[in-house]
């Protein structure tokens, strides 16, 4: 009788251990899922040429070798845009030295008001390495179209003047210039940082 009892106990323990290990294998050992929409198949990202807040002409191809995070926004967007830029800054800070391999770029959807001088007074405030890009309405429209960014001026009875509705996604481009991940608005610093760490380690 005692033997049968011991047998049942060890069987139960064995089953429990197997279940725990299976759970560990599926949950903890699984590669982390990226926190945005992963582009399949990977496509070369549109090679824009725009004016940086430093007054230089900048193309996406100038950043080969770096992970580039592109955000379309504007200065008079005081809720959604600073929130995104602040999360990106926190993500870079948590990457430490590795953040040197990342370039954050904001392309303005309000080129009329966001001159390079205006951007120069705005971008470094979030992170000294961030670059603001502006251009003619046509150039901005072209870049936005290629990246699937919708933007439209909207008149509103506000002291801000007009507002610009815009897709608030962040696009991650790999060091070879391929669009890899698209993040929706509201993605937090930790998720950006975890993805960058994972992708940079491969």
């Amino acid at each position: 009788m005692k033997r049968i009892f011991l047998f049942i106990i060890s069987l139960a323990a064995g089953l429990g251990l197997t279940a725990a290990l299976t759970f560990a294998a599926t949950q903890w050992l699984r590669p982390p899922a990226l926190h945005g929409l992963v582009m399949q198949p990977q496509q070369p990202a549109y090679n824009f040429t725009l004016m940086s807040h430093y007054g230089q002409t900048v193309s996406l191809s100038d950043f080969r070798g770096k992970w580039v995070m592109i955000y379309f926004g504007y200065i008079a967007c005081p809720d959604v845009c600073p929130a995104t830029l602040a999360e990106l800054n926190k993500a870079l800070l948590s990457l430490g030295k590795q953040s040197e391999r990342v370039q954050v770029v904001m392309i303005t959807v309000d080129p009329e008001r966001d001159t390079k001088e205006q951007l120069a007074g705005f971008m470094p405030h979030f992170n000294k390495s961030f670059i603001g890009l502006t251009g003619t309405s046509e150039q901005i429209k072209e870049a936005a179209t290629y990246y699937g960014i919708y933007f439209a001026k909207h008149q509103e009875d506000t002291a801000l003047g007009y507002l610009v509705d815009h897709t608030a996604t962040v696009m991650l481009i790999d060091p070879d210039g391929y669009l890899r991940v698209v993040y929706s608005f509201g993605t937090v610093a930790k998720d950006f940082a975890d993805d960058l760490k994972y992708l940079m380690a491969r």
Binding site: A83, T158, L160
Partner: protein, 144 residues
């Protein structure tokens, strides 16, 4: 005995009539994001709680740090884009027993034409105006 009963009744009535029948507004965790004066505008976020028995309405706000403060709301357009607008009627209802959250990507107070830099660690004085509760002063912490 009857006397004691009457006294108790009177006391009970007196106490219950003291209970505020109107709204009771409480604001907490008010904050704004650090931004330079050159950024022209900045949003304030907070929780507004109504612990009273009647609805109140936030009808405006002001601050010595901003030329104008408007009630705003960010929203998603049918195209999936983020837009921002003034709140309809410039009113945010705070129902009794409810907590309304002003948060990133949603309702917020928009400080337009900042009169100073908003530096991390600083505190900005604001006054909210409610239809029934009148002016409610508060301090917003500036964070990174």
């Amino acid at each position: 005995m009857k006397k004691i009963f009457l006294l108790t009744l009177l006391v009970t009535l007196a106490v219950s009539s003291c209970k505020p029948a109107g709204p009771k507004i409480m604001v907490d965790t008010a904050w704004g994001r650090q931004s330079p004066k050159t950024a022209t505008a900045g949003a304030f976020y907070m929780f507004i709680r109504n612990a009273g028995l009647e609805e109140d309405k936030l009808i405006g706000a002001k601050s010595a740090a901003c030329k104008t403060v408007e009630l705003h709301e960010s929203y998603q357009t049918p195209e999936g884009a983020m837009g921002m607008r003034r709140v309809t009627g410039d009113v945010i209802a705070i129902p009794p027993g409810a907590t309304v959250e002003l948060k990133v990507g949603g309702l917020h107070l928009m400080c337009i034409d900042k009169l100073q830099d908003f530096n991390s660690g600083a505190q900005i004085e604001l006054t909210l105006r409610f239809e029934k509760s009148g002016d409610v002063p508060l301090t917003a912490d500036i964070r990174e």
